[in-house]
C-alpha cells in the first residue's frame, strides 16, 4: 500500500518540479531611436493590427516588386508575434504604401544612398496634428544602368531600408552595420534593426493616419 501511494505521489511531484522556472526573455536593450523628433515634439508610429496586411503598390520596373516582396518577408521574420504584415496589391488607389522609380516631390524625405542607387521615403506627416497622410511614398532610383548587377543588388538593399521606414522606423540607425543606416551596406536587417522594430511595435504611437483626398 505504501509503495502504491509513493508511486501515485511520484508523478505529480515530478510534474510540479518540471513546471518550475520561467523562460528568460531578452532585454532588447540594443536598439536605436526610431521616432521622428521635431522639437518640441516626438512622433511615433506603427501600423495597428486592424490595418494589416499593409497594402503596397509597386511600379513594375527594375524588378522592384521582387525586391519589395523579399523586404516584406524579411521584415516579417523580424517579429515573433506577427506584429507586421504586408502584401503587394495591384491598384495604387487602395495602397497604404506606393513604390515608384522616380525622384520624390514630397516635403519630408528620408534618404538612403547606396553606391549604385538611391532610395527615398516621403512621409506626409503634419507635425501640428500628428496626422500621417497615406499613402507613404517610396522612391528607388538607379544612379547607373539599372540592369547592372550592382544596381540590382542595390535595389535589394534600398527596398529593405525603405520598407523599414514604411513600417515605422522614422529615423536612421547611427551604426553603419545596420540596414537602417543612411548608407546601408548589409543585405538584411541586423539583430539591432530587428529588436528596434520589435520594440517600436509595442511602444505607444502618437501618429494617426488619414487617406489622401479624405
Amino acid at each position: 500500500m505504501t509503495r502504491r501511494l509513493a508511486a501515485m505521489a511520484l508523478f505529480p511531484v515530478a510534474a510540479a518540479l518540471l513546471s518550475c522556472g520561467e523562460i528568460g526573455a531578452p532585454t532588447r536593450a540594443d536598439i536605436y531611436e526610431w521616432r521622428r523628433i521635431s522639437t518640441p515634439d516626438t512622433f511615433a508610429f506603427h501600423w495597428p493590427r486592424e490595418s494589416l496586411p499593409v497594402k503596397i503598390w509597386v511600379q513594375n520596373i527594375h524588378d522592384l516588386p521582387i525586391h519589395t516582396q523579399v523586404a516584406i518577408d524579411g521584415w516579417k521574420e523580424a517579429f515573433l508575434y506577427r506584429e507586421f504584415d504586408a502584401e503587394i496589391v495591384g491598384d495604387s488607389n487602395v495602397a497604404d504604401v506606393v513604390v515608384r522609380s522616380t525622384f520624390p516631390l514630397g516635403p519630408t524625405v528620408l534618404l538612403a544612398r547606396v553606391d549604385a542607387c538611391e532610395g527615398y521615403t516621403d512621409l506626409a506627416l503634419d507635425e501640428e496634428t500628428g496626422v500621417l497622410t497615406l499613402p507613404i511614398r517610396i522612391y528607388a532610383v538607379p544612379r547607373y544602368d539599372p540592369d547592372l548587377p550592382e544596381s540590382r543588388e542595390c535595389f535589394g538593399i534600398v527596398m529593405y531600408h525603405e520598407i523599414g521606414h514604411a513600417l515605422g522606423i522614422f529615423r536612421h540607425s547611427p551604426d553603419p552595420a545596420d540596414i537602417m543606416y543612411f548608407n546601408p551596406t548589409t543585405t538584411a536587417p541586423t539583430r539591432r534593426d530587428r529588436q528596434t522594430a520589435e520594440v517600436l511595435y509595442h511602444a505607444r504611437t502618437t501618429v494617426t493616419t488619414a487617406r489622401e483626398g479624405n
Binding site: P12, S19, C20, I23, P26, K76, E77, L80, R82
Partner: protein, 201 residues
Amino acid sequence: MKPTLLVLFLAALAAPAEAQLDYYARTGLGFSTPLVRDVLFQPYETKQGLAPLFVVGVATPVATGMRLGIEGQFMTGSLTASSDEPGDQSDADLGRLTTLSALANLEGVITSSLSWRGGIGLIKYLPSDKQGLFAEGGPVRYFVGGGVDFRRPAFSNWDLMISARYDSHRFTTEALRARGFTQAQGVQRGSLSIGLARTHR
C-alpha cells in the same frame, strides 16, 4: 536509445494474451498555461486557448492491480499572444497550434471505479505556420504526466470512462533561443475528457 525503449515497451504490451488488453478512446477539453512569457514594455504572454482533444490508449496488466499502458493525445486550438494591459492593441492571433503527445504510463487501482495513472512521454508541437516563435518548426519535448480515471459499466464489456489529466514540460523553440531567450518555460496542461473503455469482466 529511444527506438530500443519503444521496442521493449511494445514487447511488454504484446506479451500478455490479447484478451487482457484494455483499450479506450475519449474526447474532451484541455488547457495550457502560457508557452512564452516575454516582456515588451509590459508582460506579453503566448498561450493556447481552451482546446478540444482526442485521446486513445491501451493498457495491459503487469501486476495485481497495476497496468502498463500507452496513451496518445491529439489537441488542437488557437494560439494567441496578449498583454495584461487593458486596451492594449497588440493582442495577436498566431494561428492554430496542434499538439501530439504520447504518455507511457502505469495505472493503479484506488477504488473499484477509480484509478490513478502516471508516466512520462513526449509532446510534439505542430504550428499551422512556420512563423515567429515557430519559425524553425515545432519542438519535441519530454513531459511528466498523470491523472485519475473514473469508470462505470455502461454496456457489456464497455465502461464509461471519465478522466482528468495533468502534465508538465518545459517549452522553448529554436527560434526563441536564436533570439536570446534563455532557459525554458515551465508549461502545465490539464484536461477533462469522457469516453468508452473496452474492458474484461
